[in-house]
Subunit: 239 residues, 2 copies
């Protein structure tokens, strides 16, 4: 499961030419991201970015009344902390570890130095940010027009794409926070999917039994986002 840690387990790093990766790697530090850890809070100054290898991180917005929504999810295809190189330093969102794992941490200082070189790293970061824009926009659309059932399918697929295996460790309560619906709503939606034989649910453990089934049941939003990621960040090293 945990093979030797390799920078190239993150697809952005993997897409860098060797010499760039070499230069950058000096300042990357492998860190463990436990479930629930907040990499940054709303409005707090960010000091580093993270390239996940096995962890999955949710970008969340929390409203004044405590209700929240996930606006994007980041795994080994991306980076957490785009506001550091976009120039804003902070964002109103929070970043919370949704699935424990590892990531490479990169200090903001070195990130900015590298970014200003205008080389492949800059290019990759900007393209990734555009993919993130798409994911957020599609989330907005999905929140407006699609049912909880469909959104749960989308969410499961997005998570699945960022994991090895077909099992997620995740309670319905947490999923409800991500989707911005009630916990009971997730129970019902999950029950529907389970009845249909697409997943198996057991106390904080979801096993996906029929991935094509999920894809058939979800809304177009999943495909749009996936296609856009593939287009913008293509042909990465596989392992």
């Amino acid at each position: 499961m945990t093979a030797a840690h390799d920078l190239r387990q993150n697809q952005l790093l993997a897409a860098l030419p060797s010499e760039d990766l070499e230069r950058v790697s000096k300042n990357l530090k492998l860190v463990e991201l436990p479930l629930g850890e907040a990499l940054y809070e709303s409005g707090s100054r960010q000091r580093a970015v993270y390239f996940p290898t096995s962890a999955i991180v949710s970008l969340l917005y929390t409203l004044a009344d405590g209700s929240s929504v996930e606006i994007a999810v980041v795994g080994n295809e991306g980076i957490i902390g785009v506001s550091l190189f976009m120039g804003g330093e902070t964002t109103p969102s929070r970043a919370v570890v949704q699935s424990a794992g590892y990531a490479y941490r990169w200090s903001g200082k070195f990130l900015k130095e590298e970014f200003t070189l205008g080389g492949p790293m800059q290019h990759l970061l900007l393209r990734y940010t555009q993919a993130l824009l798409t994911q957020m926009a599609q989330t907005a659309v999905c929140n407006r027009h699609h049912s909880v059932d469909q959104q749960l399918c989308r969410w499961l697929l997005l998570s699945l794409d960022r994991l090895v295996g077909n099992e997620l460790v995740m309670t319905q309560e947490l999923i409800a926070n991500m989707l911005g619906v009630r916990r009971e709503g997730v129970t019902e939606a999950a029950g529907n999917l389970q009845s249909a034989g697409l997943i198996r649910y057991s106390r904080g453990r979801i096993t996906v039994l029929d991935r094509p089934g999920l894809e058939a049941r979800t809304c177009e939003c999943y495909a749009v986002v996936k296609k856009e990621f593939d287009r913008l960040l293509p042909a990465m090293t596989q392992y």
Copy 2:
């Protein structure tokens, strides 16, 4: 109303140091944007970006079934076509003129040349893009948690901020497309606001009577977005 056209009517251009603006201005061309014109369609290759001066442009997502949602609105504080400098060339969204007016058009070729210089223009464009990210994210949250009444208030305020005067030319049908709700839903919400004395509605013409009242009635989403824009793009020239 239509004073002499000036590059600095767009806040991004206004924020450029004179020498940069001078260099850039050679390739800017004033264009008129009529109501309803699409600056680009979903997935189509973009050839230029636009700096609105008096026009307002909506970024829309349209689903396969024809339903749509506005994910962001751009006026004289911003630029249309971020995917050109982000590197993706296209996006799945559409850009439609919501309020007729003028904009400066800048060819993608020159834009990219300027962007790679890494100067003030790059800096501004990236910060604006981060503000756009915030607007999209907040739209996603708002779509999930807030009532049509509140969203209409938010939408009116966002539009008002980008206009001179307190009157919008806009049918309920079009607003419904923006908000992703039924036209009847807008009729009802607008009726509520009119009863409360906040607006006056008459056949495609909305007059805002009580702006503070709208601000009191809308959700926090408006303030979050506005605050973030002010933080990221501060101290622009006023006129």
